[in-house]
């Protein structure tokens, strides 16, 4: 039997919906587990992003200084980086704040919609970038797996194709939204 590949999954500015869709591959998770060892993920208890990861599913847009740092680290340690879902591919819902200034977004989120609150948190939390960006604005992306969320079928197909050494052909299979 061939040596298993390593798989990392993470979400940055995303809602975890793409990860729900990953879990939605149902009994085929057994097949995935036969091909991949999950070495880093919200689903496993590993704190540091490891070196030499074969495949990374990266969900979410890049919205904070911490996201930028993380995506660079992920890129450095990953052979095949997959922009996982519309937020990673287009910035999608997180980008809806991009029409407004960050100060206005904070005011709306913490003051106007929370009666009685006059504090905008600023300590020990990542700093919001001026806008939310797609992943490929910062690092090279190998595979774009779009959809909100991508279908379980497309996720499974992508993981199998990569494991078989082929390039997944998603342009006709996947759809934005």
């Amino acid at each position: 039997m061939n040596k298993k590949l390593t798989l990392a999954t993470l979400w940055l500015d995303g809602c975890s919906g793409c990860h729900m869709s990953l879990v939605d591959v149902d009994e085929r998770l057994i097949d995935v587990a036969g091909i991949y060892d999950i070495v880093f993920s919200p689903l496993v208890d590993v704190k540091e992003f490891p070196e030499n990861v074969d495949v990374t599913l990266l969900e979410g847009a890049i919205s904070t200084d911490e996201d930028v740092e993380m995506v660079k680290r992920v890129r450095k340690s990953t052979k095949t980086l997959i922009a996982f879902g519309d937020c990673a591919v287009t910035a999608n819902v997180p980008s809806m704040r991009n029409q407004f200034k960050v100060e206005d977004v904070f005011k709306r989120g913490y003051l106007e919609t929370t009666p009685g609150n006059d504090i905008i948190p600023s300590v020990n939390i990542p700093k919001l970038l001026e806008k939310a960006y797609p992943v490929h604005n910062f690092v090279h992306v190998d595979v774009f797996l779009h959809g909100c969320p991508p279908s379980a079928d497309n996720i499974f197909y992508t993981l199998v194709e990569i494991a078989e050494g082929r390039t997944p052909e998603l342009s006709k299979r996947a759809r934005f939204g």
Binding site: V89, T90, M96, Q99, P134, F144, H146, S171, F176
Partner: protein
């Protein structure tokens, strides 16, 4: 068809086809089952030539030409789907997505949108250009319909149907290029319009979520595509 109309013979994608001399390449291609992607074109409305998705190559001409605006000529050799055309169509579509705020997942027309399905058709997986994120208004002053400039691709189908079919000419456009906007009356809120007949034709010819019915949530706004062909057919039957 009068007897004075001449017939031309041309080649589209290596197929010999016959056409009336007044037909466009797009018309002839459609008659012969050759699919050319379009966004602004709609059967029953005048040709506009705005979306540029229907560009084709014509042997002997270095420029790509919009097939909806180019009439046939004897001996023309047309290619509708070369790698060069595909690349341009994809880039064009990426520009559409980057120019306004098209967030498919929260759009009322998610699943029914022609821009969204065009992305699949021309195999666009992501946008290479930086997004512009313009701050655009939504006109929700009308009691039945909503005009969302975030989703508008300026195809002018709504303007044409309002003028040519309904005869109201409530809708029009102002400004040019990237500043182009669909307006109602003399750029007054739609709800105050004295010319709008509330027929809703504009909503149903709109290819995206720019024109929707009030109260429709994410993925609920399917468009009645048969509306315009039906009206056109009925009118022809009366003539």
């Amino acid at each position: 068809m009068s007897s004075s109309v001449k017939i031309k013979t041309l080649t589209i994608d290596e197929r010999q086809v016959g056409a009336r001399e007044d037909q466009t390449i797009l018309d002839v291609a459609r008659e012969n089952g050759i699919k050319i992607p379009t966004l602004c074109s709609l059967k029953g409305l005048s040709a506009y030539g705005g979306c540029r998705m229907c560009i084709v190559e014509i042997a002997g001409t270095p420029k790509l030409l919009p097939s909806c605006m180019t009439t046939v000529e004897e001996g023309m050799v047309v290619t509708t789907n070369s790698d060069r055309i595909k690349k341009y169509r994809r880039s064009l579509l990426e520009l559409y997505f980057s120019e306004r705020n098209h967030v498919c997942s929260v759009c009322a027309t998610n699943g029914y949108c022609e821009l969204q399905s065009m992305a699949q058709e021309v195999e666009m997986t992501h946008v290479h250009f930086p997004y512009m994120y313009p701050q655009l208004d939504i006109d929700a002053t009308h009691e039945r319909f909503i005009l969302d400039h975030n989703r508008c691709i300026s195809c002018t189908r709504c303007v044409r149907v309002c003028d040519e079919i309904e005869g109201a000419h409530t809708l029009d456009i102002k400004d040019r290029g990237i500043d182009i906007r669909v307006i109602t009356d003399l750029d007054h809120p739609w709800g105050e319009s004295e010319t709008c007949t509330q027929c809703g034709k504009c909503v149903h010819v709109c290819p995206t979520g720019a024109l929707i019915e009030r109260g429709k949530s994410v993925g609920e706004m399917s468009k009645r595509k048969q509306l315009l062909p039906y009206l056109t057919k009925m009118r022809e039957a009366h003539e």
